[in-house]
Amino acid sequence: MLVIACLKQVPDTTQVQIDPVTNTLVRDGIPFIVNPYDTHALEETLRLKDSHGLKSVALSMGPPNAEATLRKALALGVDRSILLSDRAFGGADTLSTSNVLAAAIRKLGESEEVGLVFCGKQTIDGDTAQVGPGIAVRLGYSQLTLVDRIEKLDLDAKTVTVRRKLEGRYEIVEARLPAMITVVRELNRPRYPTVPMRLASAKAEVESWSNEQLQLDVNSVGLKGSPTWVSRIFSPERQEGEIIGDGLNDPIAAARLLLDRLVQGDMLSV
């Protein structure tokens, strides 16, 4: 039985900055990383490989340089790493992204039964949390989002029981396999690659599938298959605040001044 992790390679958005003059994104030297949540999806995949003897696969749709992400997955111990890359896949929104990922999973399922697919809760660049549900619906899998604990996996009964982390509450949910699970950070602590595995992975092969393998209608993938499009990008407007008093030398006076301003402006009433 297969357990699959979906990994997206993303720019490290914590390092992205806006050029104050041109108002554009400064990307020079910004490293690409594995989407942080996806490292937890990968870790869970590896744990199930270790504990239940499942065969693990890492999948990523992206440009050729996303191979780096898949190589890391090999270094951590996945059995197969597959890059889904094709010019036709470029510019995808979540609907066409889930189409490609679901097609790849379906194809893997032709030779071996798929038990579980793990995705991150969301990415740090697109940040939509929509790809996981998209995969589940397309494949007719059980959909379990925001999972912070796998309570039980019963391969004979073909069920999985998880804990979902929602606003102010947890839900213990049992569902039928195959299931698509999106994971939060609390689920596990991702492992680090060992030196021998890293060395071995340098030689291991990242497979690459294009649309030749997946045979999807070109109008259903990439930009063409995307109902949404970005019409404008701009930097968030911010009006510079007003500095009140001299807080470094006279904090008490500054505090008074601030309270006066708040009360006068009807922003605070005591």
């Binding site: 958005t13 994104l25 660049d125 989002t145 925001l146 949910v173 968030p236």
Partner: protein, 436 residues
């Protein structure tokens, strides 16, 4: 240049405007019909001018405005002779698409509820939904799916809805993706709304992503702004790249246009007690035996040690790494208590174990919109700002004048929080004494 019988209007060539490409994932390359775009290592396009046929597809596809058309001097000369001609023509395919899209009418808000209690975000959405519906001149409908939820229709009417689609059936007692997905898709196919809004909550995101996939339409996540453009399409503005940029997303060729909005991003509308509307009973029979997902247990935090609702508070005093230690949060507690508010914090404070996770404000925490947000010893990382920048008033206390928090603050005090915060607390106490 040879002299063709019929001179075609030159279409120009595409070129890259330096510094504007954001490496969005090769949208330009994917649309070029003649494979005239190569991507560099940095993910930016290189256009083969000789190959370019000037179809403008890449320019239109680029979300960053990083591509433009230009004309060679020869082309410019030919254009001059074309000046009088012009006018856009609409082909048949386009006409058919327009009529298909026009069949969808109305604005819908999915009412999220738990045990018959509606999530507040639902009414924040009927508030903004009302504005959209009025601009479009269409009705605003609430979609209520659950068990024992009849009373929610009146609440929806009191929060601006004209009508309510109601599915009341025991199979919907607890939220599960499969039955809710089936019910939502059934209603959408039957009544064809043009806009569907849902809260960007755990439940809303779970459902919206599934529905959009099944009805094969676009879904824009976590919108902070919604508007209608001149053609009546929904303009959906949302932060991306961790809040570093804002993007306006369109879904003009597909219906319904779906969007999720985080709680507290839209203001809560005024409730109009006694307002009435039309309840439209619907059904979507799903036998329990056909559902393979079961909620075995729900564990609520209610009554637990920490039931402070940061997201709903009117006054928030927030602390970051500048607080230095857990004990020091007592300073913030004191000020919060005087103001009748609660204490929140940055992820650094939460990661350090100084605050429980549900007090975290920001991209991976709560979005808040209090009357006053006081940020103490918080630098103002973008991930924090996206969670609190819509607060009515933001006060920043930081000893570093260059801290980015001052860029969003209404008022800032550059100083040591260990001096400023107690002074504020004392000041509020004094004002209260004067009053009484």
């Amino acid at each position: 240049m040879s002299e063709p019988v019929k001179v075609k209007r030159p279409r120009g060539k595409a070129r890259v405007i330096a510094g504007k490409c954001i490496a969005c994932g090769a949208r330009c390359q994917s649309v070029c019909p003649i494979n005239g775009v190569e991507m560099s290592e940095q993910g930016e396009p290189v256009i083969e001018t000789a190959k370019c046929i000037g179809c403008v597809k890449c320019v239109k596809a680029c979300p960053a405005g990083a591509l433009e058309m230009f004309y060679t001097p020869e082309e410019l000369a030919i254009i001059a002779s074309f000046e009088k001609h012009g006018g856009e023509e609409i082909d048949e395919e386009e006409l058919e698409r327009r009529s298909r899209v026009a069949a969808y009418k109305g604005v819908w808000v999915f009412v999220e509820q738990n045990d018959g209690e509606a999530a507040k975000v639902s009414w924040e959405l009927t508030g903004v939904g009302r504005e959209l519906a009025d601009t479009l001149g269409v009705p605003l409908s609430a979609v209520i799916i659950g068990s024992g939820v009849d009373h929610l229709a009146d609440t929806a009417f009191s929060y601006c809805a004209d009508q309510a689609y109601m599915i009341n059936d025991s199979v919907f007692r607890q939220y599960r993706t499969e039955p809710f997905l089936a019910a939502m898709c059934h209603l959408i196919e039957k009544h064809k709304p043009q806009v569907v809004l849902m809260g960007a909550t755990g439940m809303g995101r779970d459902l919206a992503g599934a529905v959009a996939t099944r009805v094969k339409t676009g879904l824009t996540a976590d919108c902070t702004g919604l508007g209608i453009d001149a053609k009546g399409n929904l303009m959906q503005t949302r932060p991306a790249f961790g809040g570093n940029i804002m993007a306006t997303i369109m879904c003009d060729r597909f219906r319904p246009q779906m969007a999720t909005v985080r709680p507290h991003v839209m203001p809560m509308p005024q409730q109009r007690q006694g307002a009435t509307g039309i309840t439209i009973p619907e059904s979507c029979p799903i036998p329990e035996s056909s559902i393979f997902t079961r909620v075995l247990e729900v564990i609520t935090d209610k009554g637990g040690k920490d039931k402070v609702d940061v997201a709903g508070a009117e006054f928030i005093v927030s602390g970051g790494r500048g607080l230095m230690a857990k004990e020091n949060f007592a300073l913030l507690e004191e000020l919060a208590e005087e103001l009748g508010g609660v204490v929140g914090g940055s992820r650094s404070a939460v990661d350090a174990g100084w605050l429980p996770q549900d007090r975290q404000v920001g991209q991976t925490g709560k979005t808040v919109r209090p009357k006053i947000y006081i940020a103490c010893g918080i630098s103002g990382a973008i991930q924090h700002l996206v969670g609190m920048q819509d607060s009515d008033v933001i006060v920043a206390i930081n000893r570093d004048r260059e801290a980015p928090i001052f860029e969003v603050a209404t008022f800032g005090i550059v100083g040591d929080l260990f001096e400023v915060v107690p002074a504020l607390t004392a000041g509020v106490r004094e004002m209260k004494q004067l009053r009484s």
